[in-house]
């Protein structure tokens, strides 16, 4: 295959939202929204996705930047991961997000990859990315969930024909911080809680978020509820740089003395959506932060997990990450 080549597409670079919506409507399913392109170009180069028109959102100024609001912080969807990792507003109040953003991919990719693209990115299942006609691609089989299927990186929860996982480092953080996603189409704006933004194969096997083709994620709002809390982020990957999480963990904890007053904790890499660990939250809320609570939390973390052939390791991995989040945060 020739390399560094993409099939032809029309490139449209709108400078405002109305223009963008108009183009999205005109091309319908043939349009592809482009942010940093760090997920998109891979699809195009492999010729698996062949959009008719690529709509570059980078020229729309209102989609960029980090703003303080009376309710907390609003991050434009087109803000790069590097900007988020370095922002004073974010490192000051929501260092959890800065930490996760700084662990995504590599410096070069963080300089162009956006937070919107990071949460909207597609599944990284290698069969699917290679263009195989699996369930997620509209076919009628799953190549990962067979006796020989290579499913080391796949899910331990929520399998429903597809066993792919949420690959994002920032998504569980947004769930932990109780963020909301601002979504617009030409007619209206709707706000969706981060937790409900991501959808599993039981809801729609061909999409990972609630976004409809004509919709644009415009911003992410983080309420001040968890600002300045005790945070814990850790990512375990085969390689430290440019590697997706096998499992990552994001926790926001409100301490009162040595007591865990309240907590939100979520992880990626175990389910098709970022998984909020409500059982862990219930177990530790009101307890003192010590080894015993951490052990209890760990033993409840992977309850109900159903591993595939090659990913049993994700159970102790998840348990240990939860133990550390409680003990070492």
């Amino acid at each position: 295959m020739s390399r560094d080549m993409m099939p032809h597409f029309e490139l449209i670079q709108p400078s405002d939202m109305d223009n963008a919506f108009e183009v999205l409507e005109r091309y319908g399913e043939g349009a592809w929204k482009l942010a940093g392109g760090q997920d998109s170009y891979d699809w195009f180069k492999d010729r698996v996705k062949r959009p008719q028109a690529v709509v570059d959102l980078n020229g729309i100024e209102e989609l960029k930047g980090i703003r303080e609001t009376p309710e907390g912080v609003e991050i434009g969807a087109l803000t790069t991961l590097a900007e988020i990792a370095e922002s004073d507003l974010i490192t000051g109040s929501f260092s959890l997000l800065a930490q996760a953003a700084s662990r995504v991919a590599s410096p070069q990719i963080r300089n162009v990859g956006t937070i919107g693209g990071n949460v909207c990115q597609d599944a990284r299942c290698w069969y699917y990315r290679a263009g195989m006609d699996c369930y997620r691609a509209g076919g009628n089989t799953c190549y990962a969930d067979t006796p020989e299927g290579m499913n080391r990186e796949h899910c331990i929860y929520g399998a429903d024909r597809c066993v792919a996982v949420s690959p994002s480092d920032t998504a569980p953080v947004l769930v932990a911080l109780d963020a909301s996603m601002v979504i617009r189409n030409s007619a209206r704006e709707r706000i969706v809680a981060a937790q409900d933004f991501f959808i599993g194969p039981d809801v729609n096997i061909e999409r990972m978020t609630v976004l409809e083709p004509g919709e644009i994620l415009t911003a992410i709002r983080i309420p001040s509820t968890w600002a300045g809390s005790t945070f814990y982020f850790e990512k375990v990957a085969d390689r430290n740089v440019w590697d997706f999480p096998l499992v990552n963990i994001a926790a926001a904890i409100k301490m009162s003395g040595n007591t865990i007053e309240d907590i939100r904790i979520a992880c990626a890499g175990v389910e098709c959506v970022p998984r909020r660990l409500t059982v862990v939250e219930d177990v530790v809320r009101g307890s003192s932060r010590d080894e015993e609570t951490a052990d209890l939390a760990a033993s409840s973390a992977a309850r109900g997990a159903i591993p595939l052939n090659f990913n049993h390791f994700k159970i102790p991995l998840l348990e240990n990450l939860v133990r550390r989040a409680i003990r070492d945060s």
Partner: protein, 163 residues
């Protein structure tokens, strides 16, 4: 489409299909073959160039997105008068073996040292974390960048350096 941009201080333009990457644009339209095509997917960093003061993998950027901007490639670091302190240090220490990773490594290093010439070893490793070398083991690359940083932060180094 016509893409116009500044490359190594010179205004350039060329006609290319909209799906052309910046890497392809540089190599095949402007005949600047310093930036290399390695992995094609953002893993190796051998295609690294600097656009408006930030490093990017040019294999994962459309040429159209660099339009009107200021691009620096490895070709912009040396002229008939001499080479950049990073290149000098690489040469002195024998930092490279096959050399394929060199253009990307040096651009990532330049991007770091331009902002922070006194970067620590840890900061250097971080800045190079998106650049792979399959030959050397990185030790001499890192030592060279430390050395170049010392040159670039000394009083004698012209602050108005055009490189």
């Amino acid at each position: 489409m016509l893409v116009e941009l500044t490359v190594n201080g010179e205004w350039k333009s060329a006609d290319c299909p909209p799906e052309t990457t910046l890497l392809k644009f540089l190599r095949e339209h402007l005949m600047l073959t310093g930036a290399k095509l390695g992995c094609d997917v953002g893993d190796c960093g051998t295609c690294t160039v600097i656009v408006d003061g930030e490093s990017y993998n040019s294999c994962l950027m459309l040429a159209a997105r660099a339009a009107g901007r200021d691009v620096t490639t490895i070709e912009g670091l040396a002229d008939s008068q001499g080479v950049h302190p990073i290149q000098e240090a690489f040469e002195e220490l024998g930092s490279l073996q096959c050399g394929f990773c060199g253009p990307g490594m040096i651009m990532s290093a330049k991007n770091l040292l331009d902002k922070n010439p006194t970067a620590s070893r840890h900061e250097i490793k971080d800045a190079l974390s998106g650049n792979l070398c399959r030959c050397t083991g990185y030790t001499k690359i890192i030592e060279a960048i430390e050395g170049a940083g010392r040159v670039m932060s000394s009083d004698k180094y012209p602050q108005s350096n055009t490189f």
